[in-house]
Point group: C2
Chain length 339, copies 2
DNA sequence: CTGTTAGCGCATTCAC
DNA sequence: GTGAATGCGCTAACAG
């Protein structure tokens, strides 16, 4: 038999309106009656029923996050930031993990219509125009993290410039035979399930080469599904080339680890004989002394919640973009090439 | 202006009771009127408001999960299993991440009283008797994963036997100088924020030694906070001993990685000069060809949801325990010791 | 300042 | 089978 606002009202000898007012600390309550109500609340161990509040408010007081692969460290780190930030608010955080195309479809279609959340954060899953239309039609404020759509707010980094940054650094060390190791480079519009960042980092890589007047060697670009193992295979392929690269730019730290492992297996010393640079600066990168491009993963989660809460307060607000800074972190896996 | 059950009723020319009946597919609805209602629902793109349903049901239709460290791979894998299983149910999954003692206290106290969830899953955080009393008092069905309390259902593995299994295998290879590398071994009752598994695995380690009449060498047990880096430091310490161990049993794969790294830095070959065995069989273990004790992480998440849903259906059900099997996975980091 | 009343959207009795 | 009425627990607008 749960205790309701009526029980409190009776015990305090007031109306339920007054109880509601002290609950939502409205200023128009005499201090003495306020105390009386507070006392009753204490004695009865009363806690307002959130479902009833949500019902009366017409809000769910919940935020949803749709993401892929709990297992990818960079996503998990973003999720950490999101949870930390949501925990400080009055909202609950509901997670939707996408591992198959079917589940993506289901969540993208279902969540907006179902009125289960007041707002949505989507990590790394580019929505189609149709998806976005649905979000807007349902008046569901949505923030994208590490992916893009012109009609939605987003928290991003400049992956093109990150790709340039990494490549330029290798060039500045004297490298000219620079490989790029990544996930498959899909057109984001054609394959809504792919990460787009690898493509943009690739573009930055190409730009940097061009600026330095280094011709692009197609076989220096190797791509496969994102995994440590696949990255190792690709790196083996690169290092077995007749004219192997002296440096590898990997699209993620995880993939950089694969490259390091391949080098180790082939007895190629890093950084003396091979430079490796990663992307993300996940926790293990510092441990491995991996040179990398740091992106503020945790903070991107924080910021996305901040924006979403602001949209929740002001539904008419225009979509906005937050650019987070990238930073070159030089550690021990990069050095000038040998002669 | 959201569409309600009244809109549907009006459009179909019926009462809201009838609409509600087809919504909850009650059998007592004539097929023709049923079709009429269905048509109206389609046309209006009607979706019942979950908050109102929850209100009327007196349930939240949400499950909470309290855990620590999104960043620890084994926890994340369990969470994956939980999400997958909850997604198949009518429940939402609300996550509460615990990184500080303060947040643990807050969640353990707040979540039960707040009536935000119908049931709770707790991973790796041993609740105190007072906590459990609160759960039961609030009639909040709770399932523990990888931790224990006599009054709550739990999904566990036998860590003692796992520790024995690992140690016995090393002994069977001929090792007698076997080290154990772990987190600090705290009394679970005294430190509710610690993982208890390391302690039990330690006990299994001791048992196996005793059974083989191998005297326990205190300095062969090294412990520090769980991290790759700390594990490496500990392993360095072990390998620098005047009479170093020929095998290391690490309490987790992550810590085993630290041991492998230390060996590499010291130029000690694995498995020729040093055997290393881990625990968990996280994704990266297969990649590293690490011998380890596999525990079914994903499945433990699945099973915990299964039990919780069953408790939700039958509130009077007694707590029960599910034991998941451990398995020795032999790969390339273990071998007989050299003479 | 405070008590009363009318919804919020749905499930669930009741009568018919 | 079906419609109307009641209640879930709370907020907010309305009279005092």
């Amino acid at each position: 038999m749960p205790i309701t606002i009526y029980d409190v009202a009776k015990k305090a000898g007031v109306g339920i309106g007054t109880v509601s007012r002290v609950l939502n600390d409205s200023p128009k309550v005499r201090i003495t009656t306020r105390n009386r109500v507070m006392a009753a609340i204490q004695e009865l161990h009363y806690h307002p029923n959130p479902m009833a509040q949500r019902m009366a408010y017409g809000k769910t007081l919940a935020i949803g996050v749709i993401t892929r692969f709990f297992t990818r460290p960079s996503f998990v780190e973003r999720l950490r930031g999101i949870e930390a930030s949501v925990a400080e608010s009055e909202y609950d955080l509901i997670v939707y993990n996408v591992e198959t195309l079917a589940k993506r479809e289901r969540y993208f279609r279902t969540v907006p219509m179902s009125h289960r959340v007041d707002g949505l954060i989507i990590i790394c899953l580019p929505p189609t125009d149709a998806d976005v239309e649905r979000f807007i039609e349902e008046k569901l404020p949505t923030v994208l993290v590490d992916t893009y759509h012109p009609n939605l707010s987003r928290v991003v980094v400049d992956d093109v410039s990150g790709g340039r940054m990494a490549t330029q650094y290798l060039i500045s060390l004297g490298h000219r035979k620079i490989a790029y190791l990544s996930d498959p480079l899909n057109d984001p519009l054609a394959s809504p399930f792919r990460f787009t960042s690898s493509l943009y980092r690739y573009q930055g890589y190409r730009q940097a080469l061009e600026e330095a007047e280094i011709p692009f060697v197609p076989r220096y670009h190797q791509a496969a599904e994102h995994s440590l193992y696949q990255a190792k295979v690709l790196a083996h392929r690169l290092l077995s080339l007749p004219d192997p690269p002296t440096a590898i730019f990997a699209a993620s730290d995880t993939q950089a680890m694969g490259a390091l492992e391949a080098a180790r297996e082939k007895g190629i010393r890093v950084p003396e004989e091979l430079s490796v640079i990663g992307f993300d600066d996940i926790e293990i990168a510092a441990y491995l002394r991996l040179t990398t491009i740091r992106q503020p993963l945790y903070e991107s989660g924080l910021r996305s919640v901040e924006i979403l809460l602001s949209h929740l307060d002001r539904p008419q607000e225009q979509p906005r973009q937050v650019n987070l800074a990238l930073e070159l972190v030089i550690r021990d896996t990069t050095a000038p090439p040998r002669h």
